[in-house]
Every structure is written in structure tokens, then in C-alpha cells.
Subunit: 125 residues, 2 copies
DNA sequence: TTAATATATGAGCAATTGTTCATATGAGCA
DNA sequence: TGCTCATATGAACAATTGCTCATATATTAA
């Protein structure tokens, strides 16, 4: 039962079929990866982490993270497009805050994962 | 109170100070971003999604996702290094399965986020 | 030992991404 | 109107990343 993608002979066709039927739609998995990609950057993680504590303007965030206003503004755009933050204008100043209740859960689960005690460093076989 | 990173004059020093104290350590936020980076790829999301349903060998996953064995093996290494999957050898065949109870929560919260109804497409101002 | 097979891995390349720099926008004020 | 300030944005460049291809490793069988 070998095919074009894998030279192996041991392919468990029944399992593949069952898994294929149970898996979410391709499009949803794509969107999910896109969402996690947004969380996958130190600067954005820091911004989100800061916004957990308080609403902040662009300048505050730049100062807090010791980064340029431009860099922060670019990253806020990414967060906005992922609908993770919302903004509020007050004159020239734009205040950003979190726009999702799931973020906290995702973050906390992520933190729990990285804080788990490691029994051993990974080594194959 | 302007500084080197932001030309703005409106910096809310008190908020910055409070947030700075409450935020997790820099190193933890870095690790967190590294973890989410692992989730931020369609192939890896698909692999994880498949392993939710059943333990699978490398060849099965390659067949399921219509990708080469090499590509899958490379990605499994990334997942292993992030301690998200574990493996079990049975002769020449290596079976992979999930190695973390937090993954499901993270995934489900992520799915809930992307499935949220959008009132409007984002537009600034 | 030799051959075959399942998986792992290193090098290289194309595509993506985060930052910087320069500049645009837009709001408040003189 | 014209000026200043807070933020947004486009282009460009360096760094990272995911795949392919070739090959190495490890296990089983003859």
C-alpha cells in the first residue's frame, strides 16, 4: 500500500481513514495556525502580557518594552488583525486593550506547559 | 519625560511602573512565545490535530497529510523538542502521540477564538 | 554479513517575518 | 491656515523557517 508520499509499506489505512474523518476542516486548522503564529513572537507576547495588566497607549508600550514606536505600532496592527486587541482614541492618543477572553486561558495553559517539571531532556530512543 | 525609544511626551509613568512589576519575567515570556511559535505552523497544527484522535507512526502521518516522510519527521522533531509529543518504538516503526494535557485546552480556546462571530471587519478610526 | 525498510538529519534554497528608516495621516492648538 | 505631536504605514533588509534532496542510522530478516 505504498504511495507517492511515503516509501513505507506499513501504513495503517484504517487509522488514517478514521483520523481523516474526525479532524477539523483544513481551513479551520489553517486559521488556528495563523492565530498561534500571532502569539509566536516575543514582542507580541510582551504586549499582550502588558495589556493583561492595564490599557496602554502606543507610546507607553514602546517605553515599557524599550522599543521604537514604529515597531510597536506594526505589531499592534498584527494583533488588531487577529482581533486580539481593541483600541480607543482619546485625542491624538490611541489606547489599546485586550479584546478576547480566550487569550488569558491560552496564555495560562501555555505557561503551565513551559513550567512543567522536566523529568529528563528529550533524547530519541 | 521623553526618552530614546518614543518621541511622545505623553508617557504614563505610573502605569508603566505598575505593569512592569506585574509582568512575568522576560525569560518566561520568551519561552511562551517559543511554545506558541511551535503551534504557529499549519503542518504542525495538522499533526497535533491528528494525534488528538490516535497514536500514529511517521508514515501514517505523511500519508494522511500528503507530505513527504522527511518533512513530517522534521516537524515531529520540533514538536518533540517542545515536549508536545512523545514517541514509542515498535521495531522499526516509531509511534507518536501527544504528551501534554494543556494542548487540548490551548487548541480549544484557539478554535473558540477563530469561530467567534465577527461584528465587523477591523478598521482603524 | 548483507539487504531492505522506517525514521532521522544535514545542507541548501525559497518564502516569510520583524525591525528600521522615512514619511504619511490625523487631531489639537495657535 | 500652519504647526506640533501621536500614531500608522510602506519599502527594504537581515534573520528565520519549512521544505526538498541526499544521506545516515537503526532495526529486522535472510
Amino acid at each position: 500500500m505504498s504511495d507517492e508520499f511515503c516509501s513505507c509499506d506499513i501504513v495503517h489505512e484504517n487509522i488514517i481513514e478514521i483520523v481523516k474523518q474526525k479532524m477539523p476542516q483544513e481551513e479551520k486548522l489553517y486559521d488556528l495556525a495563523e492565530l498561534f503564529k500571532v502569539f509566536g513572537d516575543t514582542t507580541r507576547v510582551k504586549i499582550i502580557s502588558a495589556l493583561f495588566e492595564a490599557e496602554m497607549c502606543v507610546c507607553d508600550i514602546a517605553e515599557l518594552l524599550s522599543m521604537t514606536q514604529s515597531a510597536i505600532s506594526h505589531q499592534l496592527r498584527v494583533l488588531r488583525q487577529a482581533r486580539l486587541v481593541k483600541h480607543r482614541k482619546e485625542g491624538k492618543v490611541v489606547f489599546y486593550s485586550l479584546d478576547d477572553e480566550h487569550i488569558k486561558t491560552i496564555f495560562n495553559q501555555g505557561l503551565e506547559h513551559i513550567l512543567e517539571p522536566r523529568g529528563y531532556e528529550y533524547a530519541i530512543s
